[in-house]
């Protein structure tokens, strides 16, 4: 028994980038050098203890998947050493290691034998996997006839239910319906609790922060930071603020996909704090305002205008909607240009990245709508006035609430 599950020492992976459009001989005759080389990974050091869940974050092309491939021995590193203590199960993208011509059951068996699992164990595990994936009726059907959802479920079921000591998972949790995702997350925490190790590549920062112990942050193939998952996720998100299009707190709507009758155009969204000062990001519990600028076609006659502002969390899951009709505000006699201002007293959002959509309606008809109006960050703040916020993983919304202790049960309370 070793004191590590995975040890990565100064690992680098160099790839060759070459065009293969026409026959190589023609490129050769034209005197083109067919290849250029680049490092997809360089100088990576990672230690993972048994039973740890390590999150791997970074932008697209940062080398996350390459790292998993090297760690799972699918491809060799160009330099450095990887040491693995235990069997490695890999789940790279959808339908890993799955052969479209093979039936569901044959695929399970192939995956199991590749992991070196004894035949008797395979038989017992197969039923478990089939039940987990919920594909009982299709188990004798070749995989190519599966729906993509079924393929994902089977892939997850295999990865999560076969006994291996190290599990490498690449973003697959992003797919599948909510209940299945939940089932998988439960299973992953069971797996880590039983002493197995999980490496998890993901883009869902809330999930990384809530489920992983440690995290590493890759940037352009280099290790930018490593440490406790929540710390790394926060650093990563703060760095990402710079990438958000909010220049000095103004999100221009020009050039964004839009729709509507065009009698009025929404032109920008300004982020304001409670005193009306322009800001680039918000804090939980802060008094905030969204100022939506507009220009009206002077020839048009608009009346009974209402506004809608929708806030989205990760993966564009809607968090909530501010509709002016719900709060009695319907606007008439618009000036040729101006701003609609939406105020929120105590911003009920957990820290994270949010995006929004805005629309302007006349009765039920959309005058102008911009579904992707840009994004902003919410940082930690004192929503409850207690200096604490709920732990991540429980959704994006902050709910104003109270807890109290009662000696009896509810029936007693009713009697009083």
């Amino acid at each position: 028994m070793t004191d590590f599950a995975l040890r990565i020492r100064d690992v680098g992976k160099e790839f060759r980038r070459g065009s293969q459009k026409e026959g190589r001989i023609f490129e050769w005759l034209k005197g083109r050098t067919p290849y250029e080389y680049f490092w997809a990974l360089r100088h990576i050091d990672v230690d993972v203890e048994p039973g740890q869940m390590l999150g791997i974050i970074g932008h697209n092309g940062a080398g996350k998947s390459t790292l998993l491939r090297v760690a799972s021995r699918i491809t060799r590193p160009t330099e450095g050493v990887v040491e693995l203590s235990g069997r490695v199960g890999t789940l790279l993208d959808v339908g890993t290691g799955f052969h479209p011509e093979l039936t569901g059951i044959e695929n399970i068996q192939l995956n199991a034998v590749v992991l070196g699992i004894p035949t008797a164990t395979i038989k017992a595990k197969t039923e478990e996997i089939v039940a987990f994936a919920g594909v009982e009726d299709f188990i004798q059907t070749p995989l190519k006839y599966y729906s993509s959802g079924m393929r994902v479920r089977l892939g997850m079921a295999v990865a999560l239910n076969l006994p291996h000591e190290i599990m490498l998972v690449d973003e697959v949790l992003a797919v599948g319906d909510a209940s299945f995702r939940e089932k998988c997350l439960d299973r992953i925490s069971e797996v880590t609790n039983s002493g197995r190790t999980v490496l998890f590549v993901g883009h869902n920062m809330e999930m990384i922060a809530s489920t992983c112990d440690e995290a590493i942050w890759l940037e352009k193939g280099r290790l930018r930071a490593s440490g406790p998952a929540s710390t790394i996720v926060q650093e990563y998100q703060e760095a990402a603020v710079k990438d958000v299009s909010a220049k000095d707190g103004v999100l221009s709507l020009a050039g964004r996909p839009d729709h509507g009758s065009g009698q009025l155009r929404l032109t920008y969204v300004r982020l304001l704090d409670g005193r009306g000062g322009q800001v680039q990001n918000f804090h939980s519990g802060q008094n905030v305002r969204f100022a939506v600028g507009f220009e009206r076609d002077p020839r048009s006659s608009l009346s009974a205008i209402s506004l809608g502002l929708t806030l989205f969390g990760h993966a564009r899951v809607a968090v909530g909607q501010c509709e002016s009709t719900c709060v009695t505000s319907v606007f008439s006699d618009l000036p040729p240009a101006g701003e609609f201002i939406c105020s929120i007293d105590r911003l009920p959002l957990l820290p994270g990245r949010y995006s929004m959509g805005v629309k302007c309606l006349q009765e039920d008809e959309v005058v102008h709508g911009v579904p992707h109006a840009g994004s902003f960050f919410v940082f930690e703040g004192d929503f409850f006035g207690t200096g604490t916020l709920p732990s991540p993983g429980g959704g994006n919304a902050l709910i104003d609430h109270d807890w109290e202790l009662s000696a009896g049960d509810l029936a007693d309370l009713a009697d009083d």
């Binding site: 028994m1 070793t2 790839f15 060759r16 026959g23 190589r24 491939r69 090297v70 760690a71 799972s72 021995r73 699918i74 491809t75 060799r76 590193p77 160009t78 330099e79 450095g80 050493v81 990887v82 040491e83 693995l84 203590s85 235990g86 069997r87 490695v88 890999t90 790279l92 890993t96 290691g97 799955f98 052969h99 479209p100 011509e101 093979l102 044959e106 068996q109 192939l110 995956n111 034998v113 590749v114 070196g116 699992i117 004894p118 035949t119 164990t121 070749p142 006994p163 000591e165």
Partner: protein
């Protein structure tokens, strides 16, 4: 780099590709279950969406035998060393097909299994080995037909038939060696399969499958005969005929040398394959 079974953990060390890799036989042995699953898959899958199913195993060599018998045996009247011509060709065609299918499948496996090898690890040598052994399964079925034909023609079986496995083994060694040698090339340049198709054709006519070796050896100078007989497939085909029908060439020292050459091909092929397998996944 052996992986243990449940419980005990052993440490696997992954290093950059070696310049002269050697096969890890322990790891291969640990993965024998993968081999069986792949062979089973190959056998059951090949004819899954067909009408005649596994009957094709038998039809393919029978059709070729029929073509040769009519064209070469009847029309051209080629001599067949006192054996009925269909039997004469079929006995040689089977070990030849074992070789040719083995090369074809073994060579293509890095490409045809790309979606698996790019996602899970197991020693890649298992793949071409499974392909060649699959060709042996094909052979076994057609061999049943051959035995029936021999009975029908009233042929006596001699105990020499027990030496047949030696020649089949030689055929598979060569098939695996050539497949390993060409597989990586095929992964880099898909036109390899086009070129190899012609290579196999030439090889076929350079081997006494459809005609009697004496047709050539009687007419060409000694060095050409030497070259002709150095071809390990010559040893396979002539040896198989000898073991089954009593004609052909009695095993001699030349067969030994060509067998040694086949082993050399296998060794070089293994080295080439192991070097290539470390990077072939990156080709995509």
């Amino acid at each position: 780099m052996t992986m243990s079974h449940l419980g005990a953990r052993s440490v696997v060390v992954v290093r950059p590709p070696a310049r002269f890799p050697v096969p890890d036989f322990g790891e291969l042995w640990d993965n024998r279950a993968v081999l069986w699953v792949l062979i089973w898959r190959n056998v059951t899958q090949r004819y899954r969406q067909t009408f005649l199913g596994p009957i094709w195993f038998v039809i393919n060599p029978l059709m070729r035998m029929a073509v040769f018998s009519v064209l070469l045996g009847n029309l051209a009247g080629l001599p067949s060393e006192g054996v009925p011509y269909p039997l004469f060709t079929y006995a040689a065609l089977l070990p030849w097909e074992l070789f040719a299918t083995g090369v074809d499948r073994g060579m293509g496996c890095l490409v045809s299994y790309h979606h698996i090898i790019s996602k899970v690890y197991f020693p890649r040598l298992v793949l071409p080995t499974a392909e060649v052994l699959t060709a042996l399964v094909d052979f076994a079925l057609s061999f049943g037909i051959l035995l029936l034909m021999m009975l029908a023609y009233g042929f006596d079986f001699s105990p020499r038939i027990f030496l047949l496995p030696i020649f089949l083994l030689l055929s598979m060694i060569l098939a695996l060696g050539v497949g390993l040698l060409l597989g990586p090339l095929h992964a880099h340049f898909r036109d390899t399969s086009n070129a190899v198709r012609y290579l196999i054709q030439f090889w076929f006519y350079g081997t006494p499958v459809a005609y009697s070796a004496s047709l050539l050896t009687d007419r060409v100078p000694g060095w050409a005969v030497w070259l002709y007989q150095f071809n390990p497939m010559n040893a396979v085909v002539e040896g198989s005929r000898w073991a089954l029908l009593g004609t052909g060439r009695t095993p001699d020292v030349m067969m030994f040398w060509s067998a040694l050459f086949a082993l050399l091909v296998l060794a070089v092929g293994t080295l080439v394959f192991l070097r290539a397998e470390q990077s072939v996944v990156d080709l995509a």
